[in-house]
């Protein structure tokens, strides 16, 4: 059920969009109204979620320390894995955001005869995750060609390098292939590895199916249905310039692609996909481990409540304590 329902949902949405994409009235809904709505939900929802997180106090230093912390001068500190100051934290965060360092440290536990528990390095998840994310980024940048006129040079350059193999006409993009392969791997990992399958929920499968369907519909548009790019750009540039037009003769597969993207945008702020913003707000990564050198004061301590030492406490309650038979330090 956890796999079947998300799959059926994507299938149903695609079918609705394909059939609806043949009707002019629904074309306007799928091609203009929903994209605006979905984009607004995405931006507002994303900002809202980050602000909601920002309201949570993080009074304690809780970085995960994965190496030697700063100590005596003659003990080498592991600067990236146990950062002590802002600069080291920035280094740690940059590697986390751009190189997925935490995933790179992924290990696999296996029980061998003996019984013996063995931990081994497991880089496959890291490899396909990084391929997936960077391919997706490049695909998004390439799509700017449809929303900008004249097309900025960095978009044209990205396209050039993405199609540098010059295979076929229209040229194959490497990122299309890598993206589909990586999503397929991430899906297979969830169903073939027993441990991962056990903890996988519909909310894990749904985004995978959704992104796979988006990429697949995009590839089909380019290589199989051969949609009219000029008409589509008139629509998309119209959306970007806030003066939408709906040209005739757009193939329904385009509306499948767009509706799926709209669903992704709406789903994004309410799902695990928010790790895009969340990675920057991970307290276990973005805090320095300096609680031995800096005094941290709980920000919501009531200043009217003064420190109350044990000596003062005993002075206040000595008689009552004696009466109850509780030992006191000062008679």
């Amino acid at each position: 059920m956890r796999i079947l329902y998300p799959f059926l949902a994507i299938l149903a949405v695609s079918l609705i969009a394909y059939l609806g994409g043949k009707v002019t009235g629904l074309q306007y809904l799928f091609g203009v109204v929903l994209p605006y709505l979905a984009f607004a939900v995405f931006i507002v929802g994303f900002v809202n979620r980050v602000l909601y997180w920002a309201k949570s106090p993080v009074p304690f230093r809780i970085p995960t320390t994965c190496g030697q912390g700063k100590s005596l001068d003659w003990i080498n500190q592991d600067r990236l894995d146990c950062p002590n100051n802002k600069l080291e934290v920035i280094g740690r965060m940059l590697l986390e955001v751009f190189a997925f360092r935490s995933l790179f440290r992924n290990t696999k536990a296996e029980v061998h005869d003996g019984p013996k528990l063995v931990y081994g390095s497991s880089k496959w998840l890291w490899l396909f995750a990084i391929l997936f994310h960077y391919s997706f980024l490049i695909v998004v940048i390439r799509h700017l060609r449809l929303f900008t006129e004249p097309v900025p040079s960095f978009v044209a350059l990205t396209e050039f390098f993405d199609g540098i193999l010059q295979i076929g006409a229209p040229t194959m993009y490497q990122t299309d292939v890598i993206l589909l392969a990586a999503v397929a791997f991430l899906f297979l990992r969830r169903i073939l590895s027993r441990h991962v399958k056990y903890i996988s929920l519909a909310a894990d499968y749904f985004p995978l199916f959704l992104i796979f369907a988006i990429a697949l519909s995009g590839v089909l548009m380019r290589f199989y249905f051969r949609v009219d790019v000029i008409a589509i750009k008139q629509l998309t540039v119209g959306i970007a310039t806030l003066s939408p037009v709906l040209p005739a003769g757009i193939h329904p597969i385009f509306f499948v692609h767009v509706l799926l993207v709209c669903i992704l945008l709406v789903y994004f702020p309410f799902s695990k996909l928010m790790h895009m913003g969340g990675v920057f707000l991970s307290p276990t990564r973005n805090m320095s481990n300096n609680s031995r050198s800096v005094r941290h004061i709980n920000p919501w301590n009531d200043p009217s409540i003064k420190p109350h030492s044990y000596a003062a406490y005993e002075d206040e309650f000595r008689d009552v304590m004696k009466e109850a038979g509780i030992p006191v330090e000062k008679e």
Partner: protein, 131 residues
């Protein structure tokens, strides 16, 4: 709210990136592409819809047939004979790269590598005169 000094600028950068396409286009004059139609011809080697969608595939096929298999026989369409060639076939009617090909290609940011090897008839003529 905590760490507003870092989170608010971060969110501004995020929204700024997301809205790139909207403010980038402000003030740009956007015109629909107008490929120039050849004089004296009303049909192409394929019907309009097909040639529009499939011309790159057709050109690739022609290239393979002519260069790799040596099949240079002409193509018949609508009672007319066309040469299997970009320069001598397509561009016999659509003489200008700038006024025909580039119109849509520029608009859709498509950069076919035809011109890595081919020259347009116009350019070839100019080259011949210069020599």
């Amino acid at each position: 709210m905590y760490d507003a000094g870092k989170i608010i600028p971060g969110l501004i950068v995020f929204v700024g990136l997301m809205l790139f396409a909207i403010y980038y286009n402000v003030g740009n004059k956007i015109e629909d592409p107008k490929p120039e139609k050849p004089v004296g011809y009303t049909s192409c080697v394929l019907p309009l819809e097909e040639i529009r969608a499939e011309h790159m595939v057709l050109l690739n096929e022609w290239r393979d047939e002519v260069i790799r298999e040596g099949k240079r026989e002409k193509v018949e369409a609508g009672g007319k004979m066309y040469e299997k060639s970009l320069q001598n076939g397509c561009m016999h009617c659509h003489t200008s790269q700038e006024k025909f090909c580039d119109q849509c290609h520029k608009y859709a940011s498509v950069n076919p590598y035809c011109w890595d090897c081919h020259v347009t008839p116009e350019y070839g003529k100019a080259l011949g005169e210069a020599n």
